[in-house]
């Protein structure tokens, strides 16, 4: 991949944490307002893609930290896991369950299985988009190498 401009590289360093924060905000906001796991995941993967285009594949993989395919797996496990708590209480799968924590002076904190599901979606979206983007970027990196489908 070509060397990118200094401005882009510097901006990417600043933008990555900001965009990731914004995606976390969207994720948490999504329960009662526009937002949610899908859009937050897209924002996070856009941030990572920007990082990839400005700093190269290796640094993007490093910034991601894990194999994106694992993120898909982990996200799916979490999303399925969010369906189960209800089943233990004898309700239908995916029935919402909430845990209210009263430890904070600002008011009770309600944690629920929908948030867990959103978190799963979030990870699946990041994992899928990054798998696609990294595969495409790596295929571009070595144009003479035989292209492999499905990897």
């Amino acid at each position: 991949m070509r060397k990118q401009s200094v401005i882009l590289r510097t901006a990417a360093h600043v933008l990555l944490p900001l965009l990731l924060l914004f995606s976390a905000f969207l994720l948490l906001r999504g329960h009662n307002a526009p937002g949610g796991g899908f859009i937050a995941g897209l924002v996070a993967s856009a941030a990572l893609a920007l990082y990839l285009f400005s700093l190269g594949i290796a640094s993007a993989r490093h910034a991601l930290g894990v194999d994106p395919r694992r993120l898909i797996g982990a996200g799916l496990v979490i999303a399925i896991g969010s369906a189960l708590p209800a089943a233990f209480f004898g309700d239908a799968f995916f029935t919402g369950r909430w845990l209210t924590l009263d430890w904070f002076p600002s008011g009770p904190l309600k944690l629920g299985t929908p948030l867990l599901f959103d978190l799963g979606v979030y990870l699946v979206v990041i994992g899928s988009v990054m798998t696609i983007v990294l595969t495409l970027a790596e295929a571009e990196e070595r144009p003479d190498a035989p292209s492999n489908e499905g990897d």
């Binding site: 395919r69 496990v77 399925i80 309700d91 239908a92 029935t95 919402g96 492999n148 489908e149 990897d151």
Partner: protein, 512 residues
């Protein structure tokens, strides 16, 4: 709450997710493949037993009552289909231990297998039209990836036809859903049945019904848009084509059964008459196509098409006996067809080719395999006392009772031609002497799925083949319980009030 309703979807999803996490470990992926499909089979049997005992089971996902939330519904037809998916999935997983090499596992064979099974089961169990569309897409995505696994030229060629026509079908499906929602204001199947019965028959309903018919007809590989199937099913790994052959088109058939017994029964004289002609044309073109083929898996692929015709014939005649025949035919067909594809894989393993001209002499070298081939092959052709005989017998009798002599004639001729096709394979692959230059594996074969451990692996290939052949024999020799099952499933299909009441409860009565 009855957890067994959702388990056939959740188990493969969870197994798929876990095998994604275990991406690098082949051992873990294989174990998950076996355990996941084994658990799925167990869960599906549990579901079938519950449905048999307690009638139609419903789960309102997330606790949202129908018709607002998404419901999972298990009536006997759905439960039977889920059991068949479990059987095929498990057989494929055992077979894959040997038949699928590491180079294919590396590209995600097992996660895709689980995803495909989740999609198939989701389609069988959902009680919501849009949800059905989603499961169809899950299935399509997984099947597309499985189809091109390995990335050979022939696979790409087949996959392009497969995907193009299936996308067309999805687009039609989606447009039909849009129109249906615009007209009825609901997509819950039970609710739709109530609403459409209230509004009565009009032209738009019939148009929408035909749109669904075309969309599902493409998925089921019915005449005239079936050619994506023989173009693609002979190209992927043999374990994949066995799974596809057993399950995928049958999801289309299942959807036809569901829609044209529950929702679109306003104009049976027209819609089911169309279905009847489609059935006859499908049977005939499929079997004639097979007669012109000389490649093991291509012959079998064309026979899938012709067999789909029989199932649709059962639905189209729309008498109690005919529906029984259709359901019985689906049960018989899935097991037999998956088995025949698995056997073609064993033959390939032994001889290195799918081309009939290059095969031969297997009766001499592996008589056991020859016998194992004869069971599903003769069953497919409808020889007594195998399962196919009863399936065809019921359909033909139902046809005669309904006075549909043309389609009965076609069905009988097609049965004869199927026998011809199976005997052709028998003669070429097993009976005739091995042609010269034997022993040399060909270079131009589609897939290079030679075993990692050639000697010990063969037993694992035979195991699912033997199991499925035993099932075929069992369904044939002990047909009575299976017949009762099909009868009760058909009775539920023909009297949708039970289904509607199970889903909507008392709300069905309150609605204006």
């Amino acid at each position: 709450m009855r957890p067994e309703i959702a388990l056939p979807i959740l188990i493969p999803l969870a197994a798929g997710a876990l095998s994604l996490l275990a991406w690098r470990s082949h051992a873990a992926q294989r174990t998950l493949g076996l355990v996941g499909t084994g658990l799925l089979l167990a869960a599906s049997l549990w579901l079938a037993a519950s449905t048999w005992q307690d009638g139609i089971l419903v789960m309102h996902m997330g606790g949202w009552p129908a018709p607002f939330g998404i419901v999972l519904v298990s009536d006997l037809l759905g439960a039977i289909m889920v059991v068949l998916a479990g059987i095929t999935g498990f057989a494929t997983a055992v077979y894959s231990l040997v038949a699928v090499g590491r180079e294919h596992e590396r590209f995600g064979y097992y996660p895709l297998l689980h995803l495909l099974l989740a999609g198939v089961n989701g389609a069988f169990l959902t009680g919501d039209v849009f949800n059905l569309y989603v499961w169809f897409e899950v299935m399509l995505v997984a099947s597309f990836a499985l189809l091109i696994l390995g990335g050979e030229r022939a696979q790409m060629e087949g996959a392009i036809k497969y995907v193009t026509l299936n996308l067309l079908s999805s687009a039609l499906f989606l447009s039909a859903i849009g129109l249906l929602y615009g007209m009825a204001g609901t997509l819950n199947m039970a609710d739709l049945a109530v609403r459409l019965a209230e509004t009565g028959s009009n032209g738009l309903t019939t148009v929408i019904a035909v749109l669904f018919l075309v969309a599902f007809g493409i998925k089921a590989a019915a005449f005239p848009l079936f050619f994506w199937l023989p173009a693609s099913y002979h190209t992927p790994l043999v374990a994949v084509s066995a799974l596809f052959a057993g399950l995928l088109t049958k999801v289309g058939v299942y959807a036809l059964f569901r829609f044209f017994t529950l929702i679109f029964t306003h104009d049976v004289a027209f819609t089911h008459e169309v279905l009847l002609w489609i059935a006859a044309a499908t049977m005939l073109t499929g079997v004639l196509g097979a007669a012109a083929q000389f490649e093991f898996r291509r012959i079998l692929s064309f026979h899938i098409v012709s067999q789909i015709g029989y199932m649709i014939m059962g639905l189209a005649l729309y008498t109690p006996l005919a529906i029984v025949g259709g359901v019985f035919y689906i049960v018989h067909h899935i097991i037999v067809k998956a088995n025949l594809f698995l056997i073609s894989g064993v033959v390939y393993r032994l001889r290195g080719s799918y081309e009939l001209a290059r095969l031969g002499g297997l009766y001499r070298s592996s008589p056991g395999l020859a016998l194992l081939f004869l069971i599903p092959a003769l069953s497919l052709a409808g020889m007594p006392p195998l399962s196919g005989f009863f399936a065809k017998f019921i359909l033909v009798r139902a046809g005669l009772e309904a006075g549909a002599y043309t389609v009965v004639g076609v069905a009988l001729v097609v049965g004869l031609l199927t026998l011809y096709s199976m005997i052709k394979i028998w003669n070429e692959v097993f009976w005739k002497a091995m042609p010269e230059n034997d022993g040399e594996p060909n270079d131009d074969v589609m897939n290079d799925d030679r075993p990692a451990q050639p000697a010990g692996g063969l037993a694992l290939l035979y195991l699912p083949v033997i199991g499925l052949a035993a099932l075929t024999l069992g369904i044939g020799l002990g047909a009575q319980p299976f017949l009762e099952l099909a009868e009760r499933a058909a009775a539920q299909l023909l009297d949708p009030t039970g289904y509607i009441h199970a889903v909507l409860g008392d709300a069905a009565g309150i609605r204006p």
